[in-house]
């Protein structure tokens, strides 16, 4: 069977599975629609959370980023997993005990203020919408590469599928579909990694393979990689830093608290039956996430090794001199997978010195010694550019794996994008129908009416998300930093203070959220333009790029969170205590006994 037919079959079968599950688990009540009736087993919920959390970015882009960044890429690995420790201990069990449907509802009730809940809805909508644009574009890319349709058609098909199972199934449908999607995506990620690890190191477990010797050599894979990339002028793989140690520290912290504050992740913990299950469920979620996240660094380093080996075979497999005239392969003799990816424009070759061979190295290296060697070899600049996003998708082709593995990777990438899009849509629709329509505009709405409002809100969000996916605003890439920055600087501190400080009052919480949000936006917009409009950057005002101790805008969420905490405590000191019944409510939230099914009543 040819590759295209195999891909159609595997992807088609996976879609049929998702829709079948959605029909089997239709939601009939608001409780089933928002929180799956709080009847999901913690292991299943962990699996669904993992699929919800791991987006197209985790599946497709992360290993490529690590491959380019080396050691520094660890900030994504630690940041996007360490947040679950915070979630499990600081937020999830208490929010589950509180027993309502949404995050803004907790903030509104705890700080006895509609304004507080409206600010929270606003933060939630901005964070979730910016996140969903990336998912829809991811769906488009995956469809167009693998199914041979245009990216636009891909987005329409993706919208249709999500509509079918999210609108009718609600959280119940989404949860069970995500369990299936997790299985598809994790097989798609690990199977090629196992094959590649075997080929390179003889060890089938990628996590161990990364720490093993190269097959037939007495040098470890990482040591060899360090040596080879340093010779080519790149930073040493196992130590290269993103900016400074301080920036890596703050960046990691921002991703951790951003993860813990993202509403679509928090919402997943409302679907388990008990408070103790919420704690366990975070652990299971991390187990399932870790299977991919500990494989990713192996995929990253092995892909880098394979890439350099393809171009300069003698240097990786033997002890050849990379500067020798015949070290690099001839362009005409390049492997087939390179030809296929050249067509997509994600892999590019330009023969700058006209020798017909591919020179791949860092032409911006600061080492004078290496520069001299490069000049002596007659190199005129790096000739190969490799987009980070192709690392995972091209992996099975680079390793010459059978067609069904390539088809599985296609289905896995789509599963990752669709499951996250569905989770985000759920959070958006709950915020609109439950917190805005029922909470503020029409409190006397019937359950049936609210369920309908929820479904309409979700259908509308799918259309908006699809529109943004079709016409991606130029700022799509910069906005992921904003989603994490907002979650970290506004929502996380507010929820945490709501639980851990009995005396925190509404004035403090609102002032904290607004100032955390404002300072983060101020710093991000200074670098990327006001609302990401090109030409409106104001780096002069803050004294140049990364002027705050060399911290990049992506990493600023942690600073915003600090400001949030500080302002909240200062304002809290000079305004009056929260009422008695609120302090009792906090005490009740802290103990597990008396937890009931999540009902969302106001």
């Amino acid at each position: 069977m040819d590759l295209q037919t195999t891909i159609y079959l595997v992807v088609g079968a996976s879609f049929a599975l998702y829709i079948g599950i959605a029909i089997w688990s239709r939601a009939g009540s608001t409780s089933e629609f928002y929180v799956a009736g709080s009847g999901v087993n913690p292991v299943m919920n962990g699996m669904a959370t993992a699929a919800d959390w791991m987006s197209a970015a985790s599946f497709i882009s992360m290993a490529g980023l690590i491959s380019n960044m080396g050691y520094g890429g660890g900030l994504f690995l630690m940041g996007w997993t360490g947040g679950y420790v915070l979630l499990a201990m600081l937020l999830a069990p208490y929010l589950r005990k509180f027993g309502k449907f949404t995050v803004p509802q907790f903030i509104g009730d705890r700080f006895y203020s509609k304004s507080a809940s409206t600010v929270a809805v606003l933060c939630l909508l901005v964070a979730s919408l910016t996140y969903i644009i990336g998912q829809m574009t991811g769906v488009g890319v995956a469809f167009s590469r693998f199914l041979g349709v245009s990216s636009d058609v891909g987005i329409y098909v993706g919208m249709g599928i999500v509509f079918l199972y999210a609108v009718f199934g609600g959280m119940k449908g989404i949860t069970y579909t995500q369990v299936a999607q997790y299985v598809v995506l994790i097989l798609a990620y690990t199977i090629p990694a196992i094959f590649i690890s075997l080929q390179l190191t003889g060890n089938p477990i990628p996590q161990l393979g990364l720490g093993s010797n190269l097959s037939g050599q007495d040098i470890s894979l990482l040591a060899k990689l360090d040596q080879v990339v340093t010779e080519l002028g790149f930073g040493k793989y196992t130590t290269s830093l993103p900016g400074s140690t301080l920036n890596m520290f703050v960046y990691t912290m921002s991703l951790m608290i951003g993860t813990a504050g993202l509403p679509h992740v928090i919402m997943r913990f409302f679907t388990v039956p008990k408070v103790s299950d919420a704690r366990l469920s975070a652990g299971w979620a991390l187990v399932f996430i870790a299977i991919l996240y500990t494989t990713a660094p192996a995929v990253a380093a092995m892909a880098k090794t394979n890439l350099v080996r393809t171009i300069t075979p003698g240097v990786v497999l033997g002890k050849a001199d990379p500067f020798a005239a015949d070290a690099a392969i001839k362009y005409d003799e390049r492997p087939d997978w390179m030809k296929r990816w050249e067509k997509t424009g994600l892999l590019k070759f330009t023969d700058k010195n006209g020798d017909g061979r591919i020179q791949y190295y860092n032409d911006a290296t600061k080492s004078a010694d290496i520069k001299a060697k490069m000049d002596a070899a007659g190199w005129k600049g790096n000739e190969l550019s490799v987009n980070a996003d192709i690392i995972v998708l091209a992996n099975p082709e680079i390793a010459l794996l059978p067609n069904w593995v390539i088809a599985l990777v296609a289905a896995g990438g789509l599963a990752a994008a669709l499951s996250t899009a569905a989770g985000l849509l759920m959070a958006i629709s709950a915020a609109i129908s439950h917190d805005l329509v029922k909470g503020i505009f029409k409190p006397d709405i019937s359950e049936k009416g609210e369920l309908m409002a929820g479904k309409i809100a979700m259908a509308l969000s799918i259309v908006v998300a699809g529109y943004l996916g079709l016409n991606p605003p130029g700022f799509a890439a910069g906005t992921v930093a904003l989603a994490f920055g907002i979650a970290a600087s506004s929502l996380f501190p507010a929820i945490m203070m709501g639980i851990f400080s009995k005396k925190m009052n509404k004035e403090g919480a609102i002032a904290g959220m607004l100032s955390g949000l404002f300072i983060t936006l101020f710093y991000v917009f200074a670098h990327k333009g006001i609302f990401f409009i090109k030409g409106t950057e104001y780096l002069g005002v803050i004294g140049g790029a990364n002027s705050f101790f060399g911290i990049t805008p992506e990493a600023f969420g942690a600073i915003g969170a600090l400001v949030n905490f500080a302002v909240a405590f200062l304002v809290d000191k000079v305004t009056k205590e929260p009422p008695e019944h609120i302090q009792h409510m906090v005490e009740a939230v802290r103990i597990p006994r008396g937890s009931k099914a999540v009902d969302g009543a106001h």
Partner: protein, 84 residues
């Protein structure tokens, strides 16, 4: 029924502090601040600091959450505030 809610909360915060210290030490400590120092030691083919940043801290995080869940269960029962 009246519970010793103050004692329960103290015990919870005590456990939280322990977990957060370990959480910080493996990721920000071993993975970032002391990574260079630890890279002198090797775990198989892995420099140790690099291993903590890209593998080890994740394994410790998982262990931490399950340990926390178990300990919290014990605290819940000790202060008689557990569910069912």
């Amino acid at each position: 029924m009246k519970h010793d809610s103050q004692g329960y909360w103290q015990a919870t915060l005590g456990l939280l502090t322990k977990v957060l210290i370990i959480w910080f030490l493996v990721s920000f400590g071993a993975g970032i601040l002391f990574a260079d120092l630890l890279n002198g030691i090797h775990l198989g083919g892995y420099p140790l600091g690099f291993w903590f940043a890209q593998q080890g801290s994740i394994y410790v995080f998982i262990a931490l959450i399950f340990w926390y869940a178990k300990k919290m269960g014990e605290i819940d029962r000790r202060f008689d505030v557990h569910e069912d």
